[in-house]
């Protein structure tokens, strides 16, 4: 970018909200993947007008704009691989309106997911999407990726909680789609299209979110199994017995041991699989559900079935689940977290295939799964400094994706396509669908400046 272009941006956001020196730019080269790409300038807009002015200028000059929240992205979507502007939304972080009467909260995109929960909980409400990175990730990023989380099994994904938004189009025009209403009556539901669009269609500046009352009670169970297959069958059987748990999370032996190393909770290091199950609702109905779940577990040869007896115990179990991704760092210097989804009954098949891939490439791969959704996060452990190993990681991950697709699955359940999975997209979609996706992207962003060529290659 030219100095005159940077000066123009400086005039829009002020000196305190722009960075151009090398050390600062380095920080924004990354997200939570192994990919890198440096922006030429970082800007931190503080309001919609600034975002609008930045985009209008970028559109006029043809400068790439990579919109970013906390940078916890797991598909390379936040990597400014074409240079240009890193548009960091973290200073637009206010809760603008809470409307409990209508079950709606209006927020800016830089609000952190956990901070929103902390704000709502004292009022008896919560926002159901709960990605593992919720302590750091922003709502804007969650919407860009259509984030999920453990609670999705019962409560759905981010898409189901976005009622509308104010956003800035690639041209700089500010528009509002949807509203605080629970139903969007527009003939084409652009709100749904925006969710999961990975920053390629527009920049969110205000979000209308649906919130829910906190259920009055919950019960958390920890079950261990001698085989992943038994644990997987348990998952399918629980739902067919008429119970949709709030969460149904699975960890394999490698990750049980990582979690135990980190937390020292006394998890069974010899178990092949662990299920963390939670049900919620009215207090009278929970004992019956727990009893049914226990019966199903016993039928599938559960090794140990334990009900958390206190809120502290529940917190400990969830700490083990939420920290396990970080805990694997003790095993190897680097890890890569995959994200594929298969139909629920194909869980044992894909887990078996992952074990085979792990052996073939001599790479430790742990399996963490939102098992009720069939959404797996294979964690490949390796050493980034070993180039041969990195090559094997890419091959192993490509094979996991191919197997997921062959089992009727999809490339991504909640992390998006970004840069990481772009090369595999043609394995999932026909040329007609890919052409359509490209046409949709060009309809919103004819100059391809918004997170350019993420999801798929659009070109100029």
């Amino acid at each position: 970018m030219k100095e005159t272009q940077i000066s123009f941006l400086r005039n829009i956001v002020g000196n305190k909200n722009i960075c151009t020196n090398k050390e600062e730019l380095l920080v924004y080269e990354y997200d939570a993947t192994l990919l890198k790409g440096a922006p030429e300038v970082i800007v931190f807009p503080e309001n919609t007008e600034q975002v609008s002015n930045i985009l209008a200028f970028a559109y006029q000059e043809g400068i790439p704009v990579n919109t970013r929240g906390a940078g916890t992205n797991l598909s390379g979507g936040s990597i400014p691989d074409q240079g240009g502007i890193a548009l960091v939304m973290t200073k637009m972080n206010k809760v603008l309106e809470t409307d409990f009467k209508n079950g709606v909260v209006v927020v800016e995109p830089g609000v952190i997911n956990q901070e929103l929960q902390d704000y709502l909980i004292p009022h008896g409400y919560y926002y159901p999407p709960d990605p593992a990175s919720m302590k750091a990730c922003t709502i804007g990023g969650n919407i860009g990726e259509c984030s999920g989380g453990p609670r999705c099994l019962k409560y759905g994904v981010t898409r189901d909680y976005v009622l509308g938004m104010e956003m800035v189009l690639g041209t700089g025009e500010v528009v509002v789609i949807g509203s605080k209403q629970q139903m969007n009556p527009d003939p084409l539901d652009l709100v749904k299209l925006m969710v999961g669009s990975e920053g390629t269609l527009g920049v969110f500046t205000k979000l209308f979110l649906k919130i829910k009352k906190i259920p009055e009670a919950k019960k958390t169970m920890l079950c261990t199994f001698n085989s992943v297959k038994d644990a997987s069958k348990t998952v399918a059987n629980i739902i067919s017995r008429g119970i949709v748990p709030t969460t149904l999370e699975m960890m394999d032996n490698l990750l049980i041991n990582c979690a135990e190393d980190f937390t020292g909770l006394g998890l069974d290091r010899n178990a092949d699989a662990l299920l963390l199950i939670e049900v919620d609702g009215f207090k009278e109905e929970l004992d019956g559900q727990v009893q049914v779940i226990k019966e199903v577990c016993e039928k599938n040869y559960v090794k140990e079935f334990k009900i958390a007896q206190s809120a502290q115990e529940v917190d400990q179990l969830w700490t083990a689940r939420r920290t396990v991704i970080g805990a694997v760092a003790r095993k190897r210097p680097s890890y890569s977290l995959q994200d594929v989804t298969v139909p629920r009954n194909k869980l044992p098949d894909i887990v078996e295939a992952i074990v085979n891939i792990s052996q073939k490439y001599n790479l430790p791969i742990g399996v963490l799964a939102h098992a009720g959704d069939g959404n797996l996060h294979p964690l490949v452990l390796f050493d980034e400094r070993n180039k041969e190993e990195v090559k094997k990681v890419h091959e192993a991950e490509f094979n996991i994706c191919k197997i997921a697709l062959s089992l009727g699955g999809t490339l991504s359940g909640e992390h998006g396509i970004g840069l990481l999975k772009k090369p595999y997209l043609k394995q999932e979609f026909s040329p007609e669908v890919l052409k359509l996706k490209k046409q949709i992207m060009l309809a919103f962003d004819p100059k391809n400046i918004l997170n350019p060529d993420k999801i798929l290659e659009v070109g100029k």
Binding site: K101, L169, V176, L188, I243, G374, G409
Partner: protein, 393 residues
């Protein structure tokens, strides 16, 4: 009397061929169900699509709780079939008995259960469609979560036949709730009924269905001797263990406000019959006039909005039904006899006064969004063969 040009393709190839011919011949395409539900300026050239040959259940996957089904199947018959096999597909609309699954999904017809059970996007996991550019596309599958690129499924749902025709769907199913009850209460005033339903939701009671009808709305409740005053109909479902307390809280909140009638239906067959009658009566009321106004509005604004509609429409000396889904704030104003445009625009004006939206009416006015809208249509329907999406209409 216009000759109606009905085409009944039996497979994708025939449907594609019909669409391609329409592109070549510059004909408009419309689903058959519209003929009854809307008054439309069709001509002999208009291709009326009858999807009734697309009526097969492809796969009921008991392990994954999904069903793959062709879109032309009658919506209610499909639900009955699922229920007989122990599966629950919770969406249910006034047109379920008369229209295809595809019609309901393409038009995003508001479900009676909207709220507690959500909307179509939460249940449609995959679909096949023939677009109005002639392409046959397949997206999604049996996966509950899927974020592989842009959400074309979400774009097709509720697109009102402007992009293409859905031919096959894979849907997420639920286990049946253990028990349910239907409760009916007469109220003295419509506004009070609406306020009370807000209190219910604030107490954490989430009925599966919650309808509020004005006094004239009683005419669509058959075989129950109600007094002519506003009525609330609620269906509460859930686990046996917690249902009694939910019902107690419900009755306690509502007891201080009801006029002189209440009824609790406990038998499942009677509940089914009640909704069959209700659905049929509402559908008949709609097709009798073909110019209903459907709306959505912020829930807290609805009591005032509805009160003003009731007051202001008196001058037309025209009886009408107001029906509101109290959980999500959607509803309809249905005249009991044909009305003129002045009546329709007066209702729309009152809805918009309370920031409500008239369903099907494009709400955005920005130049940028209009350009995007046009480009999206260019991608899906370059020859503008959609009857409902056409400039003329």
């Amino acid at each position: 009397m216009v000759n109606i040009n009905i085409m009944s393709p039996v497979d994708i190839r025939e449907l594609q061929s019909t669409i391609r011919k329409a592109i070549t011949n510059k004909q408009k395409i419309l689903l058959k169900e519209n003929l009854e539900l809307q008054s439309l300026p069709i001509d002999a050239k208009t291709v009326i699509l009858d999807l009734s040959s697309f009526d097969k259940i492809i796969e009921l996957d008991k392990e994954n709780f999904t069903v793959t089904v062709e879109g032309g199947i009658n919506f209610l018959e499909f639900q009955i079939m699922l229920a007989q096999k122990g599966f629950f597909f919770p969406l249910d609309t006034y047109a379920s008995a008369k229209t295809s699954l595809s019609y309901n999904v393409l038009h995003g017809l508001p479900s009676y259960t909207l709220g507690e059970y959500g909307n179509y996007r939460e249940y449609v996991l995959g679909l096949e469609a023939v677009l109005f550019n002639g392409d046959h596309i397949k997206i999604g599958g049996k996966n509950i979560k899927n974020v592989s690129g842009l959400d074309i499924i979400g774009l097709l749902i509720g697109s009102k036949e402007t992009l293409g025709i859905i031919t096959k769907l894979t849907l997420r199913l639920l286990p049946f709730p253990e028990e349910k009850r239907v409760l009916l209460f007469n109220f003295k005033e419509l506004k009070t009924a609406l306020h009370v339903t807000n209190q219910l939701i604030n107490k954490g009671i989430n009925p599966a269905k919650l309808h509020i009808l004005n006094a004239s709305g009683n005419s669509i409740i058959k075989n129950i001797n109600l007094s002519k005053s506003p009525v609330v109909i609620a269906e509460i479902d859930g686990f046996k263990a917690s249902l009694p307390r939910q019902l107690d809280v419900f009755k306690e909140i509502i007891s201080g406000h009801i006029s002189n009638f209440s009824l609790e239906i406990t038998d499942n067959n009677e509940i089914t019959n009640f909704w069959n009658n209700f659905r049929e009566a509402q559908y008949q009321a709609l097709i009798n006039v073909q110019n209903t106004v459907s709306f959505s509005c912020i829930i807290s604004e609805i009591p005032e909005m509805v009160a003003e509609i009731e007051k202001e429409l008196v001058k037309f000396e025209q009886e009408f039904i107001i029906q509101v889904n109290g959980i999500v704030g959607t509803g309809m104003v249905i005249p009991l006899k044909k009305v003129d445009n002045e009546w329709i625009s007066q209702v729309a004006k009152l809805i918009e006064k309370y920031d409500g939206k008239v369903l099907g009416k494009k709400s955005f006015v920005n130049q940028g969004l209009n350009t995007i809208h046009k480009k999206l249509i260019d991608a899906f329907d370059p020859a503008r063969i959609s009857f409902l999406g056409g400039e003329e209409f």
